[in-house]
């Protein structure tokens, strides 16, 4: 909308500037012409002055001797004075064919028009009528006559007429400006839509048609490219999901039989221990498949995030309780240590995903530490986020894993932790993995508090 108003303003201002420049040029031209021809006219003695210079003397009419007759009559071809009967009383360079007696109608005619194509000027004095002719083709004479009322109306209406004219010009400017801006506005809206990832199809008529066509083509190209990317991502996600789906049933069988053999008291201890090994490895494989599936979905945005307000304390305690009840936790002690405000804090999370992230961290603490291990789950409010830390007193992260975690390299060895990081990021939070003090691993996940 800002662009729209700016465009119209610019259009109107530009037009006003053009009108002002044109008016200034006109005035300049008029001034120049007036000045130039005024100077040319100044070379010729005015008819009134010339009439004043003629005076009745004893020897008849005489020009003032202060100047020579040539000087007085510079710019004139000839001059004469007629008496009341139309007789020539005095003349200067008068062509012979014009030296005659003039009738009243002839005098009336040349005083308004021309005398035998000579442009003549007339002045009445006591001594008679002075007629002076400029050279042929040097003066334009036209007699104008108009009604008095019209002239009065014209004089009175000139200002309102100018105002109406100005308003009409401005109105036209606004109209054309608005029409132009509207077309450009459609283009701007189209560009905005393309930038937001939508597809557009703008009308390609009007002066901005070429621009609209270019925007349409860009939009179509982006749509095609996005479609290709989406198809590729879908194929990859579907492939991972398909493979993991097909592996699930056979793995369920392996896990089930191994579990059965592990608890079969008729079998020797070594066989049962081996069955327990198969069971443990199958469980690892199960976790790996789930992580692989989840990481692929998170990476390609195929995992919907179902965020709901959840109270942190009960959620963390139920995750801890479930882990403690699993056989994996036999050699682990898990203790949630939540500050009272963190316990009551409401977090806006997908509870299933956060549970998955914390399960991965707890499982790691149990799996990678064969001896007894203490795991503390702490939660603290940090501004708009809740910081959840899972820290153990075990062996800590192997240097290679820590290096991969800190440099961001994703290797299959840290798939579980990579999933934790992805889940935190999907919630707008972060995940950090460091060595615990004095020993052990410490993972910190931040998730947003409600209403932030």
């Amino acid at each position: 909308m800002k662009t729209f108003a700016r465009l119209i303003r610019r259009y109107v201002l530009a037009t006003a500037a053009v009108v002002l420049v044109a008016a200034a040029l006109c005035l300049g031209a008029v001034a120049y012409i007036g000045l130039h021809y005024g100077n040319v006219e100044q070379d010729r003695t005015g008819i009134e002055t010339l009439a004043g210079a003629l005076a009745q003397t004893a020897g008849g009419l005489q020009l003032d001797p202060a100047r020579t007759p040539e000087e007085w009559l510079q710019g004139y071809a000839w001059a004469m004075v007629l008496d009341d009967n139309g007789e020539v009383l005095w003349q200067y360079d008068l062509p012979a064919e014009l030296n005659k007696c003039y009738t009243a109608s002839e005098i009336a005619s040349f005083s308004r028009w021309y005398l035998e194509d000579w442009p003549v000027l007339c002045w009445t004095e006591e001594y008679g009528l002075l007629v002076a002719a400029a050279p042929k083709g040097t003066l334009w004479k036209y007699n104008i006559c108009s009604s008095q009322a019209m002239m009065a109306d014209l004089a009175a209406g000139i200002l309102p007429a100018l105002a109406v004219l100005l308003a009409a010009v401005l109105g036209c400017c606004l109209l054309f400006g608005w029409r132009g801006a509207r077309q450009l506005q459609a283009i701007a809206a189209g560009l905005e839509a393309v930038a937001a990832g939508r597809t557009v199809c703008l009308p390609t008529d009007g002066f901005a048609g070429e621009l609209a066509d270019a925007v349409n083509r860009t939009s179509e190209q982006l749509r095609r490219r996005n479609e290709i990317i989406a198809r590729r991502d879908d194929a990859r996600t579907a492939w991972v999901a398909g493979v993991s789906h097909d592996v699930r049933t056979p793995l369920a069988m392996i896990l089930g039989w191994a579990e059965q053999l592990e608890h079969d008291t008729a079998l020797p201890d070594t066989a049962r221990r081996r069955a327990a090994g198969i069971r443990a490895q199958s469980e690892k494989l199960r976790t790996l498949i789930e992580d692989l599936n989840l990481t692929s979905k998170l990476q390609y945005g195929a995992q919907p995030l179902r965020c709901r307000p959840v109270q942190a304390g009960p959620l963390l305690r139920s995750i801890a309780a479930e882990f403690c009840d699993s056989p994996l936790a036999d050699h682990c002690t898990v203790t949630p240590e939540l500050t009272p405000d963190a316990d009551k804090a409401e977090i806006n999370v997908d509870a299933a995903l956060l549970t998955r992230a914390l399960e991965n961290l707890l499982n790691n603490a149990a799996r990678h530490n064969p001896g007894p291990v203490q795991v503390a789950i702490t939660a603290t409010r940090r501004g708009r986020m809740l910081e959840i830390a899972v820290a153990d007193d075990g062996a800590g992260y192997p240097p290679a894993v820590l290096n991969a975690l800190q440099t961001g390299a994703n290797t299959p060895h840290i798939l579980g932790l990579y999933v934790v990081e992805q889940i935190a990021r999907a919630h707008g939070g972060t995940a950090q993995f460091v060595q615990n003090d004095p020993h052990g691993a410490r993972a910190t996940v931040t998730v947003p508090l409600c209403g932030q």
Binding site: R248, T249, A252, M253, R317
Partner: protein, 237 residues
């Protein structure tokens, strides 16, 4: 039905090996009657012949899908069901639970987990039939949950308050597993339980005085620090 093990189980999966595996494990766990079906048609026939107490359904079946089968069987017969499927998408899980299934477990699964989930569903659904009047053996003493009374080893009988009885019921329902403070408070005081945490400690102390030989060193009602309490199972855990 006097115990959950009398419940008839209908197991539907297109993989015969998996059917054998689960059936064997259910028999080992004590379930007396387990029927199996490898298709929707066979499942419908088995359901018509003997109405089961619990159905365990796969989703991908050769002649249809488990969701439609569940809908058809569930209509008019409130038989509890658990979906056991290789489909792990949230949409499938939510759809299955949305249809009214009691649980959803994805393959591969731990047999122990399946047994526990089945146990929960059966206890919850058939609570009235199984009778909550069962006595709760705690070593030398016995708790009668219906009469809210503790029969001590020395022959004396101690009454339980309503709160203590509700707490013990919740712990007994999950015997051998941790019950969080939150779940216990909710069982006694409802969803709006905030602020009752200290009261819970007091009630647990009183309960220990009644059921434990040495309340200072509890054998049955143990604390899991920072998480909740656990009623130790008869076998030890």
């Amino acid at each position: 039905m006097t115990t959950i093990y009398d419940a008839e189980i209908l197991l539907v999966d297109d993989n015969p090996d998996l059917l054998t595996l689960i059936t064997d494990n259910l028999h080992t766990a004590g379930y007396k009657t387990v029927r199996t079906a490898e298709s929707c048609a066979a499942a419908r026939a088995a359901f018509a012949a003997h109405r089961p107490a619990l159905m365990i359904l796969d989703i991908n079946l050769p002649d249809g899908d488990g969701f439609s089968l569940f809908r058809a069987l569930h209509e008019g017969n409130e038989v509890p069901a658990l979906f056991l499927s290789a489909r792990d998408a949230d949409a499938d899980r939510l759809f299955g639970l949305g249809l009214g299934a009691d649980d959803y477990l994805t393959k591969p699964f731990l047999m122990q987990e399946l047994l526990l989930r089945m146990q929960h569903i059966l206890q919850r659904t058939y609570r009235a039939v199984l009778g909550r009047a069962r006595t709760l053996p705690l070593g030398d003493c016995t708790v009668d949950l219906q009469d809210a009374a503790v029969q001590r080893a020395d022959g004396t009988t101690l009454p339980l308050t309503a709160t203590e009885r509700a707490l013990l019921q919740k712990l007994a329902d999950n015997r051998g597993h941790i019950v969080t403070y939150d779940a216990l408070c909710e069982a006694v005081w409802g969803a709006d339980y905030y602020g009752y945490e200290n009261s819970l400690n007091v009630h647990i102390r009183h309960l220990r005085e009644k059921i434990e030989a040495e309340p200072g060193r509890p054998r049955w009602l143990t604390t899991v620090r920072g998480i909740g309490y656990r009623l130790t199972g008869e076998g030890g855990k």
